[in-house]
């Protein structure tokens, strides 16, 4: 371990900037966005410096720690606020600050007409600070602070245009779904503390080797619940679609590239728990598999371009979660997909934002069409992101997704074959819905609104898109060449150096199968969407109807949780009114009676005060007398 004194700046700089912009208010309107962008960029530069510094160190010394202060010290409960920068967290630091900076730049232009642009940037910096704290905390409790911080930032940004009630409601929905997950995280922390007496990663790791299977499974299940809430995994996924109410850069940064992947980070960071508990691992795999299909199916039926992309995010994170459930070998591939996904999905979202910017904030893809001629740069960058998510070689997604499919097949037995088929199927559906988005938006005939005057976006917007497109093209190859990322992460996630030496199917076969499935998906979409009606047709298959309604997740939640919950609260209110308030009123009545008696005693006459004291003394003497007799 290397002791560092610089880690605190990762969090302090953006936090300071956020506080400054919020405190100064309108005074900072002129320069707030520039300032916030510079802060984000400098965090990225510090990250790059730290990365090279880390590379030059060897072995154990690569991880750096910094103790900030003694946070809680009550009896045997000792928690220090400390930071940990190791091979895993540096990946996140670079992704968060790098993509974050690009999105700051993009937002300068995207939000230029908004009179609250400064507040928007203050929230963005707040998010960066909280997210970095999340990945840099050296204990579950510090992580928890960041975890709540990103939840807050996400809530503020989804509801940024809170003058629209629907947007405010979406923010609330995200907040509530996240709270359910957060309960999981806090329970996991409490169980860990009762079991191991500490909540630091190092301490829990040490304790986990000797812990009972039941405790580990309980912690694992609670961590999974937390991850599901934050990463929009089944059954807590319903909020992500509504979260698209926020400004598009927010969707790109928080709800595609970074925050929603915090669940993957949590599980990867807790690898020592999941590796020791096969039951918890199985749960992770199941949740990942369900979500990857679930999200992909929803994606096929959405006409709102952002919601289609959100469904895709859900599905892609499903891939990552599934990979983390596949044991030591899977973590590195999950992180690899996380990084490549960070590039191409952020690029896709920014592209969608660029389209909306040119189309008067129209989000319905049925009103798009033939936009590639008027928005060539957007079409090109979006297209590169599209090829990356499909997994076409040599684009980024090919390397990361194929590895996950391979690992799924290799995980052994019937389970392995089943998971392999699910991941292949998911790849096919992904190809279908992404081609649908592509075709509806950029090719075909014009179906624009009369008032629409689409135009290419300004430089400040397309430059970040171009940068992300470069990432979508090259990141997969770079991370995979010579197993760079796998070797880099090995000390953190795969200490025993477990690798699949035997493959169920040769990698080349898997790749060919995947490409075949993708080709089929693309072909179906191209044929099906040669003509596109402006109004969504009603006579469609049941599955499409279901997918349009998010596979009835909201109705399910309403029927199972909300209505009984409302009944319960109504009942509780009634009980509260009749029983509790009744009791309180009774107590109040008694208090009033006794208070008026007290008032008689407290009459202001010194002689009665003196008398009370004498009576008190007599009572004391009598009492002591009785006790000693």
């Amino acid at each position: 371990m290397t002791i560092s004194t610089n880690l605190v700046y990762f969090i302090a700089l953006p936090l300071f900037s956020s506080g400054l912009l919020l405190l100064l208010g309108r005074k900072a309107d002129k320069w707030g966005h520039i300032f916030a962008t510079l802060v984000s960029a400098s965090v990225f530069i510090i990250g790059v410096i730290e990365f090279f510094a880390m590379q030059s160190r060897e072995g154990e010394a690569r991880a750096a720690t910094q103790k900030l202060f003694e946070w809680i010290s009550v009896g045997s409960f000792q928690v220090d606020a400390g930071l940990l920068l190791d091979q895993l967290s540096i990946c996140f630091v670079l992704l968060i600050s790098g993509v974050g900076t690009l999105i700051h730049i993009y937002s300068i232009a995207y939000m230029s007409h908004d009179r609250d642009r400064r507040r928007f940037f203050a929230y963005l910096n707040l998010f960066i600070a909280a997210m970095l704290l999340l990945v840099l905390g050296d204990s579950y409790l510090n992580l928890y602070v960041g975890w709540e911080g990103v939840g807050l930032a996400s809530y503020l940004l989804i509801g940024f245009w809170n003058e629209k009630p629907a947007y405010a409601a979406a923010a609330k929905k995200a907040f509530v779904a996240n709270r359910v997950g957060d309960v999981g995280l806090s329970l996991a922390i409490m169980i860990a503390f009762t079991q191991f007496g500490t909540v630091t990663f190092a301490g829990v790791k040490e304790g986990a080797s000797g812990a009972s299977a039941g405790a580990l499974t309980a912690i694992g299940a609670m961590l999974l619940l937390a991850a599901a809430g934050k990463s929009a995994q089944f059954p807590l996924q319903s909020w992500l679609g509504d979260a698209m109410a926020g400004p598009t850069p927010v969707s790109a940064l928080i709800h595609a590239a970074t925050m929603v992947t915090a669940g993957v980070y949590l599980i990867t960071r807790s690898n020592f728990i999941f590796d020791a508990s096969p039951t918890a691992q199985l749960m992770v795999v199941i949740v990942g598999a369900i979500t990857l299909l679930f999200g992909a199916l929803i994606g096929t039926a959405k006409d709102d371009i952002k919601k289609a992309l959100a469904a895709s995010t859900m599905s892609q994170i499903g891939y990552m979660i599934l990979a983390t459930g596949l044991g030591p070998i899977g973590y590195a591939f999950a992180i690899m997909h996380l990084i490549t996904h960070g590039f191409f999905k952020a690029g896709l979202f920014l592209g969608a934002g660029s389209v909306m910017h040119g189309m008067n904030d129209e989000v319905n893809m049925r009103r798009y069409g033939a936009l590639r001629k008027v928005m060539p740069i957007t079409a090109a960058t979006f297209g590169l992101g599209y090829l990356a998510i499909l997994g076409v070689p040599p684009f980024a997604g090919f390397y990361s997704k194929d590895k996950i499919i391979e690992t799924a097949f290799d995980s052994g037995g019937i389970q392995g074959i089943l998971l392999g088929i699910i991941t292949l199927l998911g790849a096919g559906i992904t190809a279908f819905y992404m081609t649908r988005v592509m075709v509806l938006t950029f090719t075909g005939t014009k179906r624009w609104d009369e008032k629409a005057r689409p135009h290419e976006s300004p430089f400040l917007m397309w430059a970040p898109m171009a940068a992300l497109a470069v990432g979508s093209v090259a990141s997969g190859f770079l991370l995979n060449s010579g197993s760079a990322l796998v070797n880099w992460l090995q000390p953190v996630v795969n200490e025993n150096q477990e690798y699949h030496s035997e493959h169920l199917l040769p990698p080349i076969v898997v790749s060919i199968m995947a490409l075949t499935v993708v080709a089929i998906g693309v072909a179906i979409a191209v044929i099906k969407y040669r003509t596109v009606p402006v109004v969504a047709p009603e006579n469609v298959l049941g599955i499409t109807k279901a997918a349009r309604k998010d596979l009835y997740q909201d109705s399910f939640n309403e029927a199972i949780f909300m209505r009984p919950g409302q009944k319960l609260t109504a009942g509780l209110v009634n009980t509260d009114y009749k029983v509790v308030d009744g009791l309180v009123r009774l107590v109040g009545w008694v208090v009033q009676i006794s208070a008026s008696n007290l008032r008689n005693i407290q009459n202001g006459y010194v002689r009665s005060y003196a008398l009370i004291m004498v009576l008190g003394v007599i009572a004391l003497i009598a009492a002591v007398w009785m006790v000693t007799l």
Partner: protein, 504 residues
Amino acid sequence: MLSAPNLDYELLAPIMIILGGALIGVLIEAFAKPAWRARLQLVISLAAIVISFNQLVRVRNDGSSIAAVTSVSVDGAGMFLQGAILIFAFLGILVIADQDNFAPQASALPGSAEEAAAIQAGKQQTEVFPLTMFAVAGMMLFPVATDYITLFVALEVLSLPLYLMAGLSRRRRLLSQEAALKYFLLGAYSSAFFLFGAALLYGYSGTISLNGLTDAIRGNTGNDVFLLLGIIFLSVGLLFKVGAVPFHSWKPDVYQGAPTPITGFMAAATKAAAFGATLRIFYLGLDAAQTSWKPFIAVISVITMIVGSLAAISQRDMKRMLAYSSIAHAGFVLTAIVSLSENALSASLFYLFAYGVATIGAFAIITIVRDSAGEVSDVNRWIGLGKKSPLVASVFSLFLLSFAGIPLTSGFVGKFSIFSAAYESGNIMLVVVGVLSSAIAVFFYLRVILMLFFTDATNDSISVVIPSILTRISISISAIFTIILGIAPSLLFDIAQDFAYFLR
């Protein structure tokens, strides 16, 4: 041939510096020009406090010990409370310096022509400074005294100036004078109990020192009736000072009647001093007889917590409400006496400091909320203050939250540590009652906060006067202490743990 006793002046120096400051203050009253007095008095008082504190730190560094032929024991707990009292005095004097709160001529009959003339002439009552300093000296002696005579002298030295100060209010003069007289009569009455108890204990043990008392109890040499009656009477004198039920009746009247800066100072410093002496007597002198006093102190603690919390609910006057809250807090600290452990001692030291600072701050804020006729202490007239003066209302709410023991304020840490010490020593009933009455207390504190922020104002006549810079400093320091001790309690808690011992 009598030889002069060695008094260890360096150990007594902190007290003597304060007395010196008080004497200089008297001379200033006699010889300085009226226009200069207030400023000179302020400088002298603050300087004496700072020098005294500095001397106290030096005493601490030299190590604690027994002084004045075993009459005084400058030990950990004693020094901690002396330091706390000095800080309270510093904060208190900053508020007292706002002369607007004091009668121009206390001896004039309320409403008389003489008084009107004094107001007209712009007279100022600067005797309050030396009086405060005399009281501070007594308060510093009280928690370190180890025999009945010294204890009694300290008790009187601290009480007599307070009786006078209670009558100095500029507004509602009659109420103030009535409070002073009541306080004096009842205080004298309780002093008599204290003295009577001391006499009985002397009769029991044949010595006036607490150490001798312990030896006598251990040796079981005396008559138990003397011991028990002695303990009860001595306790009555102490319980009166801390304001435990049923010896509390003076508190609401005096707190309401006294000038508000004096109330704040008195509530913080007197309580620390009185509890210091109480803790010493029960921890040091009477721990060998704990089976006989623990039950009745426990019962008094329970009654005090309940009555204090319940009665506070029905109060319509801010100062009376805080008086009852102070009674309830006395009940909480009494649980620490019943716990009789080192943890309980350090917890109560922390508690007394945290409570005292917040109390001075809260009363200082009451002094600046005024209408045309002066200070407004009617709770209902504070409605909507949060809209008019958000900062003042927020800081006041902070102090109330600390009284209520809400996390992230010093009050929470104090309550938590005092209850956990009680729990450790097995007094679970006390903890249950304590938590329940805290819950009741939260109700009336929050009700005030609701009124400040969430109820629409019905009248516009009150306003917050811009406080003098001194009052502002006092309030700010109190608020900063309250927050810092809530967020990083270990800063003070470690000190309290180091200081939590009595020297025989």
